[in-house]
């Protein structure tokens, strides 16, 4: 579902990428910017957390005509007196004005890096209202935002996430550069789709999806069991073919008395040997009565 989202967000959509200290969602956000520019969309980026130079450096090989970066990094609170964009300007009017300055006829994609900065300085209701108004139309087609969930109270994170049409929660994966994305997608009909994918992002910000299954770990175990079938490479047969079975059943086992065997033993046929015994006088020798004179 991640690649589906990368291919495009529906008009009026709000995509929130949630991350925490242990894994930064910024790379994924930048991959979304690249994907949008490659689709020939107009992209406006509100930079609070990253400097404009750093972002341009990351997105270097791109044709940056359709990329507009608004620098809110160097002076977001107006301390130095020459603010390019301050937190307080995060409202429908100011943003509309900002985006219309570039006079592009096409509706733009607004990327916010990050919503956390705004939420620290504005009340959650104000931020939610602005986001909702932005989605309703005007010069903004869709919004993508990054949210550091561990900096806010659970309620604040919850209310922002309720607005979103798509949510991606990223967390570190098991191996080196892998990461796990939990995706929630709310379609217009009200249907909610859940998915979990393992992905990795390379140096040039291409996203590779490594596995699709929603529960990758138990599944992996299953395949492993199948692979290590103990009956696979045996030096003997465990099962018999029909002819072998027939032959086996025909075979009479030794030490099992059948009728023929019994009669054969009891009435030996002609030609077999016989024991002839003629008692000898010495045979009847008794040690206790060697002279054979006791009357016992």
């Amino acid at each position: 579902m991640l690649s589906e989202l990368l291919q495009g967000i529906e008009t009026g959509g709000l995509l929130i990428i949630r991350d925490s200290c242990s894994y930064s969602g910024r790379d994924l956000l930048q991959s979304f910017i690249i994907a949008a520019i490659n689709r020939e969309e107009v992209v406006h980026v509100l930079c609070f957390d990253v400097s404009e130079e750093e972002l341009r450096d990351r997105l270097k090989p791109l044709d940056t005509q359709r990329l507009h970066i608004h620098n809110a990094y160097s002076d977001p609170l107006g301390w130095t007196g020459h603010p390019a964009f301050t937190v307080q300007q995060f409202s429908l009017e100011d943003l509309t004005g900002l985006i219309k300055q570039t006079s592009q006829p096409k509706a733009a994609l607004l990327v916010i890096d990050s919503l956390s900065w705004i939420l620290r300085h504005m009340t959650p209701p104000t931020v939610c209202r602005t986001l909702q108004q932005l989605r309703k139309g005007g010069p903004v087609r869709a919004v993508i935002g990054l949210l550091h969930t561990d900096l806010h109270q659970r309620g604040t994170v919850g209310s922002i996430c309720h607005l979103a049409t798509s949510l991606i929660s990223v967390a570190p994966g098991v191996k080196g550069n892998e990461a796990v994305a939990k995706i929630t997608k709310r379609s217009k009909s009200g249907k909610v789709l859940l998915d979990e994918e393992i992905f990795c992002i390379t140096e040039d910000l291409t996203v590779t999806i490594l596995s699709k299954p929603s529960h990758p770990e138990p599944k992996q175990n299953n395949t492993e069991e199948e692979q290590t079938d103990p009956t696979a490479n045996l030096t003997f047969n465990l099962r018999l073919s029909d002819s072998e079975l027939e032959a086996k059943q025909k075979l009479a086992l030794p030490f099992v008395f059948s009728k023929e065997k019994k009669t054969a033993l009891l009435h030996p046929g002609p030609g077999t040997g016989r024991i002839l015994y003629e008692p000898d006088a010495n045979d009847d020798y008794d040690q206790e009565d060697p002279d054979d004179d006791l009357d016992v």
């Binding site: 200290c21 242990s22 790379d27 620290r120």
Partner: protein, 274 residues
Amino acid sequence: MFTELNSILNTSPDSFTRGEFILVSDRQSDASFLIHHFLSFYLRSRCKVCFLGLVQSFCHYSAVSQRLGVSLTQAKEKGQLVFFEGLNESLSLLIPQENNTESEAVNFLRDPAVGLRSLYEFVRSSVISSGSVEEGAEEWGPPVLLVDDLSVLLSLGVNFGAVLDFSHYCRAAVCSQLQGNMVMLVRCNGEEEEEDDGDEETEALLKGLTHQCSLNLHVQGLPTGYCKDIHGQVEVCWKRRQGDGPHTQKNLFQYKVHDKGASFFARGTSSAVL
């Protein structure tokens, strides 16, 4: 300056990455030896250093640096080091005396709600080299800001959001605009898992700074308890991509602090064990 740590971090006073924000944090342990390391490191690499010493007096830092082979007094006289002594400055604000000029930098002590803008302005003015360089004055390298430590500001009543704003502005000015470096120390006392121990502000500050920083050195005690030969462990966590490596790279080292330095070794390879 600890040469072993330099080789772990792959830097040296002659060549180091510029524009880095190094966060030094500790939990139920003491990471101040790293602050002394970075102070002597940047003084040796001929950077213009601004040091916000909020927890100890100048004499303390000077005595430790002397052992590491750097003279703070000389650096101060040459104009290489700007030392902000928080203890003195706050005293002169709270008990104004005639011969002391009142500094605006700590005005948050009177009203924590105003934030740390004046402290930032102090930092900015001291790291930006004045346009007219005096005759015969030495030229210094990129600016460096060191803070020991940020959690003191929380204890003084400043909101953690205000501290994050301060560090953001410092990062924008020092790391991005002037391509210098920044080292900040944050100290936590609570356990990681405990949520309601009244130390939420420090935890939030640590998380916020972890999002901002490019390198995190996290010092903690040994999970198995006190040991005479191993003082604790340092987790080195790079946030920025290093070549083709994974996104966040973590390494764990154990350390022992000596009289004049510290030794770092991989887990279980202490000379006392082998």
